[in-house]
């Protein structure tokens, strides 16, 4: 195995730079080094001005998502040796404006996420004193998969529809809506459906399925969207079949 690998890293500072450029760095190639370790090496030893987000290094915080060789990846969980002998191209996530170098602006998602009300909604006034809401292991298993989302934005970077139609609410937001809909303690299905039944809700999706392919936590947003489409379609059929008063 060669003892170094070349990383081609996007550099961009809005203002001084009119377009993003590519800088090349040689970093040590070690068996246990992820792409993020390579970036940290560059920042510590070569160019301290390189900007990128990271925190936990263990696939939980969801901050280190970048396009590695064109594929959205968590850079802490993507090993340099898989790209040997190199070079390996590291770019900011697609479909988002670049703040600087590898840092993208996820404000659009932060605005969309609360629209689907990703929290437990109740229609009763149970207080803490009344005790907790009980749930069986089977009820937990219903939504557990969808609760693994870490908001890493890889699905938004992979989704060609989000790239074309920025109004589309997007894979992670719908998967999280499904997570709360499937929770036995929740009563908010109706409120979420009102948001997602619209064109920019689930109907933006054409089932490309890339969101599920790139998801590092196996959440399966594409599956969640298909389930939601069925719910929305049923509800929509009701509006045609039922008299106005019964809806």
């Amino acid at each position: 195995m060669a003892d170094s690998i070349r990383m081609q890293v996007t550099r961009y500072t809005p203002g001084p730079d009119s377009v993003p450029t590519v800088a090349e760095y040689d970093v040590p190639l070690r068996k246990d080094w992820a792409v993020l370790d390579g970036l940290n090496y560059i920042k510590d030893h070569v160019d301290s001005s390189l900007s990128y987000r990271w925190s936990c290094r263990m696939g939980i915080c969801g901050s280190c998502g970048m396009n590695v060789e064109g594929e959205p990846k968590l850079t802490c969980a993507t090993f340099l040796t898989d790209y040997a002998p190199g070079p390996v191209r590291v770019e900011p996530l697609s479909n988002f404006p670049i703040v600087r170098d590898l840092v993208v602006d996820i404000e659009d998602f932060m605005e969309k996420l609360p629209r689907v009300k990703p929290w437990i909604i109740r229609d009763d006034d149970v207080t803490v004193i009344d005790g907790e809401y009980l749930q069986t292991p089977e009820e937990l298993a219903e939504y557990k998969q969808f609760s693994n989302c870490i908001n890493c934005m890889l699905c938004y970077a992979a989704c060609p529809i989000y790239g074309l139609e920025p109004d589309f609410i997007g894979p992670a937001a719908i998967a999280l809506a499904e997570r709360y809909d499937l929770d036995s303690r929740d009563r908010g299905q109706r409120e979420r459906l009102d948001v997602l039944i619209e064109k920019e809700g689930v109907w933006g999706c054409t089932f490309v399925g890339e969101c599920t392919t790139v998801c590092p936590k196996h959440v399966d947003p594409a599956g969640a969207i298909q389930r939601y489409k069925l719910k929305a379609a049923k509800e929509n059929l009701m509006t045609f079949l039922l008299p106005r008063a019964a809806r």
């Binding site: 060609p160 529809i161 074309l164 009102d194 039944i197 064109k199 109907w203 054409t206 489409k229 069925l230 929305a232 379609a233 509800e235 929509n236 059929l237 009701m238 509006t239 045609f240 106005r244 809806r247």
Partner: protein
């Protein structure tokens, strides 16, 4: 109250057509495209004629053809719209689903006259 939308209706047809195309179309192709023409099976003509002439067979065939036509129309629409990036939303939708409607009418005519 929920507003009425057309998209979910065509999506339901698209979904149903996807299932029909994946599950039943291969069987039909295997039977009538390969097995019978190549003589792997030799069904009695009168028997087959009786089966195809039955109203239930006609109804099932019509249902399969209609949903599969709408399935392909929906795919065609999004291939033009997202794949080829053509932005004429309404003409594309009219062309795609209009084609499926015409095909459905033709299918109806055929199953009524076989």
């Amino acid at each position: 109250m929920t507003k009425r939308h057309i998209e979910p209706i065509v999506w339901l047809l698209f979904s149903a057509g996807g299932v029909a195309a994946a599950v039943f179309l291969p069987i039909l192709i295997l039977l009538f495209g390969l097995a019978i023409p190549l003589g792997w099976v030799r069904p009695d003509y009168n028997y087959l004629d009786a089966v195809v002439s039955h109203w239930l067979t006609r109804l099932v065939l019509l249902g399969l053809l209609v949903v599969m036509l709408f399935h392909s129309a929906h795919r065609f629409r999004y291939t033009l719209h997202d794949g080829l990036q053509l932005r004429w939303e309404v003409p594309i939708a009219v062309l795609s689903y209009g084609g499926a409607l015409l095909g459905s009418a033709a299918a109806l005519l055929i199953v009524l006259t076989i």
